[in-house]
């Protein structure tokens, strides 16, 4: 019962934060609400006995990624707030409509099987064991893991290249 309450609380907060991210016109607030959302999700991960992932979520998202976002928001001068200007006609209603349609279709498609899936039988047994996770990660998924490392390396190199080349800020365009 306690679990359910926790779930509902975190879920509601996560949803509210997500809506805030989208609806907030100030970019800085959006970023901060996104952090809130990430933290709620981390809590939900813990509920699912995925402690390691939850920790990683906090470190990677709420820590590293968010800091990057915030730095960028601070770095870019000028309007942080979106001004209502030229808009694509019908973009917002169409977007919402399509999103609802997608949700409805997905619900119809998957709803039945999800309910049939029921609850996890023994939620607290092996899943969530960091040791077990490490075993899988470094044996079966070792190549994927290494590839992820290479990907990160490439990303770093790419970012460095991107930001070194091109005109300096304020240079005549």
């Amino acid at each position: 019962m306690f679990e359910l309450i926790l779930f509902v609380v975190f879920a509601v907060v996560a949803l509210a934060a997500a809506i805030g991210v989208v609806a907030q016109r100030n970019v800085l607030y959006s970023a901060l609400l996104l952090v809130l959302n990430f933290i709620c999700l981390a809590a939900l991960y813990v509920l699912m006995n995925a402690q390691f992932v939850a920790v990683a979520q906090i470190i990677v998202y709420a820590g590293a990624v968010m800091v990057l976002f915030l730095f960028t928001v601070m770095l870019l001068p000028g309007k942080r707030i979106e001004v209502a200007g030229r808009r694509l006609p019908g973009q917002t209603p169409l977007a919402i409509l399509l999103a609802l349609a997608l949700g409805a279709v997905l619900l119809l498609l998957l709803g039945g099987s999800l309910v049939a899936l029921g609850r996890p039988a023994h939620p607290a047994i092996t899943v969530g064991n960091v040791q077990a996770l490490a075993e899988v990660l470094f044996t079966r998924y070792i190549w994927a893991f290494e590839a992820t490392g290479v990907l990160l390396l490439v990303a770093v190199a790419g970012v460095v290249h991107l930001l070194r080349s091109g005109p300096r800020p304020g240079a005549p365009r």
């Binding site: 977007a95 349609a101 997608l102 498609l109």
Partner: protein, 630 residues
């Protein structure tokens, strides 16, 4: 000697090449002399060939010279080979003999022209073509010579190309001739399809066996060949190019459009007489068209005022005579008339040229008159030619024309003979008219021209004199001539039918000539009957004749303009509109569709994202439907 007959071609060919590349560097005199000598050498060589031929027994006077294989494709074998027999030798001598004289004459006539080298190149090229034509041993080579002389005719008519009328006349000559050649070419193809060969000897040998006498194939072949002759020899209905051809320099008119090239049609019919003998219908058509042309052109000549046009229509008329002859089977008579005509008509043209030259380019007989005393040599020689063409004995024209009329009479076709006789009278009339208007009576020469009036230089008068002698005496050789040609035309004799005796026919034809001359004398010399009055009495007839029955106008209206309009329509509306329209329509359709679709490619990332989501919705919906239906 005979195996070197091809040398007659080499001399003028060398003249062509040398004059074409070095003519202007050689200078005027050398260039003209070279061309003349080349043709004269050919003539001398031709005389040698004649001697060689005469040495042979009469039946063996047929030598085939194969030079090299020309076109060989499967069963088609066409050699570049020459045929030397009495007929081709006669033509050879006429062409080179008259040709050499006219070349000589041109040295004087073209004295002032800056383009002398081009002129003599063309003229020599013409001789080459004409010799190929008469010496050809197969139909295709004949056709080659045929087209080659057509080309030279085109080039020489348009020699003064800066004059639009000259260029137009050249083009007209070529194209009208091509219409005739169309038939000729089809005839050649039909011959090949029928006989499997194009060689004269083979075709003529097989003809009596392969072709059914009077059959459709024989008739078709001969009529098609005759179509070619109609074009080249300016018969109805394709004669229209010849009067216009007078735009060319006068020596050209004399050589090509009177003496030699235009008679190629007669030569061709004579050459293929074996085929015509098998197609009586075609022969009748030949005779009918010839006769009709003879009188038709003669009536037009009655009222022309341009001296060269009179001569041009006269040529058409005389060619009609020749076709009448070959049509009724009197091939030797036709060729004989061809020869004498070459002499006197060349002489007439050269004389006219001399007059025109003396008057500084004047061609209208209404502004001539009384020139006899000023231009002695020209006058005397012209008179000889006039009497010859009118058929006054004992000049050459009398013999040849009389032979034709007699043959026509004996063929049993009296109307043809009668028309021929009337034409003889008309001929005498219009030639007399020309002579009286030009050489006799009061001078109507403009003051300006009278001041410069002079007799032509010897290079021009010598050929006149030589031709005058030939025109006068050639008739005396009639029987020798016929005898020489005998082996070629063996078996093709006009039947000697009853009726009027020979003497009566002769008397009638002389009478016609005398009446014609007398009438002209009364009208134009004595002025007893004013020609203007007659013209005024029937103005429409006069106009009709003066404008040559409006045939040119009719062709222009009925053939040229509709075809041109069709071409315009095809090019502007059909090709660009319909065909290209379809071609351009397909891409236009595609690009129209894509222009609509291009709206989606707005450049806005968010629109793309929207499309993406839309796509996802579609795909999942499809998945949903499929899951549900399974």
């Amino acid at each position: 000697m005979l195996q070197y007959a091809w040398l007659v071609l080499v001399f003028p060919l060398a003249g062509v090449l040398i004059n074409a590349f070095f003519g202007y560097r050689l200078g005027r005199r050398a260039c003209g002399a070279l061309a003349t000598v080349a043709v004269a050498l050919s003539f001398l060589w031709g005389v040698g060939i004649l001697a060689g031929l005469l040495n042979l027994p009469a039946e063996a006077r047929e030598v085939h010279l194969a030079l090299w294989d020309w076109i060989v494709a499967a069963d088609l074998h066409v050699g570049l080979s020459l045929l030397v027999d009495p007929l081709s030798v006669v033509m050879l001598l006429v062409v080179t003999g008259v040709g050499a004289l006219i070349h000589l004459y041109s040295n004087g006539y073209m004295r002032e022209d800056p383009d002398y080298a081009r002129f003599f190149t063309y003229l020599n090229l013409f001789i080459v073509g004409m010799l190929l034509l008469v010496l050809a041993d197969n139909f295709l080579l004949l056709y080659l010579g045929w087209e080659a002389v057509g080309l030279c005719s085109y080039l020489l008519i348009g020699f003064w190309y800066q004059k639009k009328s000259a260029a137009d006349a050249g083009k007209k000559a070529f194209i009208v001739n091509r219409v005739g050649d169309f038939g000729f070419a089809l005839g050649i193809m039909l011959i090949f399809a029928t006989f499997g060969t194009l060689g004269f000897r083979e075709v003529f040998e097989r003809a009596p066996v392969t072709l059914q006498a009077g059959g459709a194939v024989a008739t078709a072949i001969t009529l098609l060949l005759f179509t070619g002759a109609i074009g080249k020899s300016a018969q109805i209905p394709l004669y229209v190019w010849l009067p216009d051809a007078m735009e060319g320099p006068t020596p050209v008119s004399a050589l090509i459009h009177a003496a030699t090239m235009v008679t190629a049609g007669v030569y061709m019919v004579a050459r293929t007489h074996v085929l015509f003998a098998l197609a009586p219908v075609s022969s009748a058509v030949v005779a009918a068209i010839g006769t009709l042309t003879a009188i038709y052109a003669a009536t037009i000549a009655l009222v022309q005022t341009d001296i060269k046009r009179v001569l041009a229509y006269s040529t058409i008329s005389q060619l009609g005579y020749m076709f009448l002859a070959v049509g009724v089977g009197a091939y030797a008579a036709g060729i004989f008339h061809l020869t004498t005509h070459a002499f006197f008509k060349a002489l007439l043209f050269l004389g006219a040229g001399s007059v025109i030259h003396a008057l500084g380019g004047e061609q209208d007989m209404r502004r001539m008159g009384g020139l006899f005393s000023k231009l002695r040599v020209t006058g005397i020689t012209f008179v000889v030619a006039w009497l010859a063409i009118s058929g006054i004995p004992p000049l050459s024209g009398f013999f040849s024309k009389d032979e034709i009329l007699a043959a026509a009479y004996h063929s049993g076709n009296v109307p043809l003979w009668l028309i021929g006789l009337i034409t003889a009278g008309l001929t005498a009339f219009y030639m007399s008219r020309a002579v009286f208007l030009t050489f006799f009576g009061d001078s109507r020469v403009s003051h300006e021209a009278a001041h410069h009036l002079h007799e032509s230089p010897p290079t021009m008068t010598v050929p006149l004199a030589v031709l005058a002698v030939l025109a006068a005496i050639a008739g005396l050789g009639a029987s020798a001539f016929n005898g020489f040609l005998e082996p070629v035309f063996e078996g093709a004799h006009a039947a000697e039918a009853g009726g009027l005796p020979e003497a009566a026919l002769i008397a009638l034809s002389v009478l016609a000539a005398v009446v014609g001359i007398a009438l002209a004398w009364l009208m134009y010399q004595r002025r007893a009957i004013a020609p203007e009055r007659i013209g005024a009495r029937v103005p429409s007839l006069h106009r009709l004749l003066y404008n040559a029955y409006y045939v040119d106008y009719g062709y222009q209206r009925l053939v040229v303009r509709p075809l041109h309009a069709l071409a315009q329509w095809l090019a502007r509306s059909f090709d660009l509109g319909v065909i290209d329209g379809i071609v351009n329509g397909v891409p236009a359709l595609v690009s129209g569709m894509s222009r609509r679709l291009r709206g989606w490619q707005s450049g806005y990332v968010r629109r793309y994202a929207l499309s993406l989501v839309f796509g996802v919705v579609i795909v999942t919906t499809v998945a949903l439907v499929m899951v549900r239906t399974i």
